[in-house]
């Protein structure tokens, strides 16, 4: 119990800072921190899949798109409450995630990466085909979009709830089964872990998380769901966030989310390469450097510091 104290204390500090921030930040900065909260949910979801179960996905932007369009379409057609649309996005993406997880059962490693990459490129093209229902290139506008503060509150409230949920799932029987699958599928099966159940379940849960993130992502963009916003780049951002956070640990997720949520925006104001054009250069270089210098991401760095402190 004594060892848990610093961990709990850091959680309380982060929570307190997040409560105070809206009172001191400008409206624009509130939207930036809300963005971090949205990526927190997405990266958390992807970490459950890639970090704990060892299945690579470069396609979680596709689930974010599904969640985002669920919110926008429901709001446009039925003026549904946004909290209800988020729950719907969670449920729909959970089911779609299970469906994608079924073929993923037979695929592993690079094959799964390949399939999910193709999924990420394909899904944003669907609104162009069904343009009447899904708005085509113009996108779908939600009815009466919420303020930045509303999105901020919703994003961090969801982050807290989903973090606790993830912790509850991962600490028990299910989490052990996930890790067993990651470390060796054959050994897991030999110890009685039902591979199909746990692999698809991991896909469903992580897709549901991405769905909620997508829903908030649309609300943060003034309620507009547009195909260009959900391109491959979004999926890449999520994977990079999970890697920077550290796969297979929940401690670094805030750092991973801040990295992908803030870096592209912040680097636009870097003097030398300035402008929006240079931002992917900074992002790309940063990703490669982090992978070379911090193999286990931010969580690995924390663990190393803790070990040093104890020694």
């Amino acid at each position: 119990m004594k060892r848990q104290i610093p961990a709990l204390a850091s959680l309380v500090v982060v929570a307190a800072v997040l409560v105070i921030l809206p009172f001191i930040l400008s409206d624009y900065n509130i939207s930036l921190v809300a963005q971090v909260g949205i990526f927190f949910i997405g990266v958390l979801g992807l970490n459950i899949l890639t970090g704990y179960t060892g299945q690579i996905s470069i396609g979680h932007g596709a689930f974010m798109a599904i969640g985002g369009y669920t919110t926008a379409v429901m709001s446009r057609d039925h003026h549904t409450n946004f909290v209800v649309t988020m729950l719907l996005a969670f449920a729909i993406c959970f089911v779609v995630g299970l469906l994608v997880g079924l073929p993923a059962l037979r695929l592993s490693g690079v094959y799964l990466a390949l399939v999910t990459f193709a999924l990420a490129v394909s899904v944003p093209l669907l609104p162009l085909k069904w343009s009447k229902f899904l708005g085509g290139t113009g996108g779908v506008a939600s009815y009466n979009p919420p303020s930045h503060l509303w999105v901020y509150t919703a994003a961090w409230a969801c982050s807290a709830i989903l973090l606790v949920l993830a912790w509850l799932i991962l600490r028990g029987r299910v989490g052990r089964a996930f890790r067993a699958v990651r470390d060796s599928e054959i050994a897991a099966v030999a110890s009685g872990v039902e591979l199909p159940v746990y692999k698809t379940l991991a896909f469903g849960i992580s897709a549901a998380y991405a769905g909620v993130a997508g829903s908030l992502f649309v609300l943060a963009a003034n309620g507009f769901a547009q195909p260009t916003e959900f391109g491959v780049f979004l999926s890449l951002q999520l994977l990079v966030g999970a890697a920077v956070a550290g796969l297979g640990s929940l401690w670094g997720i805030l750092a991973g989310a801040a990295f992908v949520g803030l870096l592209p925006t912040v680097s636009s104001s870097v003097p030398v390469i300035g402008s929006a054009h240079g931002r992917n250069v900074v992002f790309g270089v940063a990703v490669i450097l982090v992978m070379l210098v911090l193999p286990d991401g931010f969580a690995g760095l924390l663990a190393r510091i803790r070990r040093l402190a104890r020694a």
Partner: protein, 340 residues
């Protein structure tokens, strides 16, 4: 590739044809007959087929680049398409400085080789022995970086390159065959043949094959495995550059998003051929190219549901998924045997 073919031939001589090989041969034969009959029946069909073969050769070339790297290190280079894009922009820039098309072409291939080799040495080698996920993330980082560089230097406005083959066309029995398509096919096949010859007939190629097949055994007999992998990345970048340069005239202009759908088609081609098989990648590319072009040309429909061009990439996704579920080893790959 060659040894696989000879062993298959020996199998045929011995009278032992396994069911899998027979199905593949029948499938390819059926496809060829379908295309031949179609071409004889309708000139439009023939034109679509030739266009499909030409763009298919581009997919095949990029797929071959992916397969070269996959064979050596069992990793997919997600930045392969963006690398091809970068080299195509370099070719455009060289032409702005007064080089003729073919001078720029040759210079670009040399630059691509240097670039591919340098990337392997600087960013891939340090993470290579860590895990598949680590290498995939580094290639994803490269994807973002190269995308950023292209956008930063050249911006997102369309760039135009004159087609090296002009806009004229041959007339074969009423079928108009554009010089461009013939040129694309010739260029891709010549470059693939050269790469194949390098692997087959030179000592360097032998070393590269050895390094890919049995790295530790190759190292024991004095092959510099790490250098071979770097050269492999260079060659893959060269094939990618050929794909990019040939893709540009068929798409009419150069934009930063030129290679994204093409990369997905190349994935589909590589998976269809079997990720291990170079010949499979090329044939897969041609099959995907012809299929997608025919579908885009005729827009078949099921009931009121019409397959329009927006659905081309989702269709390629469906193809990838279907093959991996039905026959994960593809048309020419061998089934993977995993050791516990």
């Amino acid at each position: 590739m060659v040894s696989a073919a000879t062993s298959r031939l020996e199998g045929l001589r011995g009278g032992a044809i396994d069911a899998g090989t027979a199905t593949v041969v029948l499938f390819l034969l059926g496809a060829a007959i379908f295309l031949l009959v179609g071409c004889l029946q309708s000139t439009a069909f023939a034109q679509f087929t030739i266009q499909g073969l030409a763009v298919g050769s581009v997919y095949g070339s990029l797929a071959l680049a992916l397969v070269l790297i996959y064979r050596a290190t069992h990793v997919i280079n997600f930045a392969q398409g963006e690398l091809a894009l970068l080299t195509t922009y370099i070719a455009w820039e060289l032409m702005q400085h007064g080089l003729s098309y073919w001078e720029a072409f040759a210079a670009t291939l040399a630059i691509a080789f240097a670039l591919g080799t340098a990337l392997q040495v600087t960013v891939i080698r340090p993470v290579q022995h860590r895990s598949v996920i680590a290498v995939v993330i580094v290639t994803v980082g490269l994807f973002i970086l190269i995308d950023g560089i292209v956008d930063w230097i050249w911006g997102s406005t369309f760039k135009f390159m004159d087609s090296p083959f002009g806009t004229a066309s041959f007339d074969v029995g009423g079928v108009q065959i554009q010089h461009l398509y013939v040129g694309m096919l010739v260029v891709v096949f010549v470059s693939v043949l050269l790469v194949w010859a390098l692997f087959r007939f030179t000592k360097l190629g032998l070393g590269m094959r050895a390094a890919a097949l049995r790295p530790s055994a190759a190292a024991l007999v004095g092959v510099r495995v790490e250098s071979m992998l770097a050269i492999g990345w260079g060659l893959a970048a060269v094939l990618g550059a050929v794909a990019g340069l040939m893709a540009e005239p068929s798409q009419l202009f150069l934009t930063p998003s030129l290679m994204q759908p093409i990369l997905v088609y190349a994935f589909a081609a590589a998976v269809l051929g079997g990720l291990e098989s170079p010949a499979g990648a090329l044939i897969g590319g041609l099959l995907i190219g012809v299929t997608l072009t025919l579908i885009a040309g005729y827009q078949p429909h099921i009931g009121s549901f019409r397959i329009t061009p927006e659905l081309q990439t989702p269709l390629a996704f469906a193809v990838i998924l279907l093959i991996l579920l039905v026959k994960p080893s593809g048309l020419f790959g061998r089934r993977e045997v995993r050791r516990v």
